[in-house]
Symmetry: C2
Subunit: 227 residues, 2 copies
Amino acid sequence: MPENPEVRRTVKIEESVLSFNEKKAKEIMTLHRSKGIFTINVMGSPGSGKTTFIIETIKALRDKYRFAVIEGDIASTIDSEKIKAIGVNSIQINTGGICHLDAGMIEKAFSYINLDETDIVFIENVGNLVCPADFNLGEDIRVALLSIPEGDDKVHKYPMIFRACNVVAVSKTDLMEHFDFNVTSTKETLKKLNPEIKTFEINSKAKESFIEWCKWLDERIGSVFRA
Amino acid sequence: MPENPEVRRTVKIEESVLSFNEKKAKEIMTLHRSKGIFTINVMGSPGSGKTTFIIETIKALRDKYRFAVIEGDIASTIDSEKIKAIGVNSIQINTGGICHLDAGMIEKAFSYINLDETDIVFIENVGNLVCPADFNLGEDIRVALLSIPEGDDKVHKYPMIFRACNVVAVSKTDLMEHFDFNVTSTKETLKKLNPEIKTFEINSKAKESFIEWCKWLDERIGSVFRA
């Protein structure tokens, strides 16, 4: 590809942008650990069910933890309004044309969150199965949503994001009968990409499908702040 | 954001990469017009139904036109194998980590296509509702897929890609009853973004749902090569 010398230069400068991002992400992580804030970066394709996943998790755990949500989108405030509708502080980031969130955006968004009155912050990334994987946001864990209608080939086609996350939530499992999605082989492929990965199956029409994930999250938070 | 001077430089260099891409796209377009090749850039989220859309269109029009397909993916040859299985020449581009196709990649892929034995080339872009919008591939038309399970809010959240395309194919309409997707208001929103846009509703389980789109495509090809 690099007939154009600018393309070669771009690669170098991208590395510099990433190392700047990494530095900022570490500062965010250090601050949040000192304040007892647990942060979850939620990634996935457009329409994979990220907002619903966040809302159902908040509903299940709001008696124990205080939440805030940072919503990332190219445009609109649709998602932050959904979060506000359940009575939770939500900060909308509109990236304009940018295809992912970065640590600088997160640092700014956190200035609208009272850290002394918050335990868990969800960050809903821009709907994109590619670019968000490269940008550390100073999060404690990364969750990737993979919906049944998207198809089980997505793990093969977009391996980077699955390699980079701690949890995969297979969503919209109520639609299983309409699609040829093999959950067993998907779990095996995910384990090969990332042996530490945890997979949960969820479905917003069956609240009980969130129990296992919420239990795991609760234990993970405990282990981070006991450690 | 630009506390880091490298970020400011990146913007400048991105502009240069885009203008280099634009130049190459024009060369591709000029060559293809002279050879009577019609090219269709198919974009959309992961799992929105791009490959199925291409396959059903080829099946409907293969008695009249000779097809080739360029498949863009981060990894895997899953899609190009599906195209080969219906007896059509398919070139797989694996972008590694790159989130979109560019004109340089297309130029290389075309070296594997015999232009004298081809009428229509489909380019299936990387599944991504953001980045492909910026990269002209020397195509005649751009089609964006939007599947019912993704939700009708995607037009508000990712306006750029819909502004940049000629056609929107609303896919998986057989799942309409399971989702709160308003096709009428989506068409209105699309028209506001892009008054020239054409919208079709398709569903791979009902082949007749492709008739209207195929008729439109056939007329469009005729108008380009008669002009």
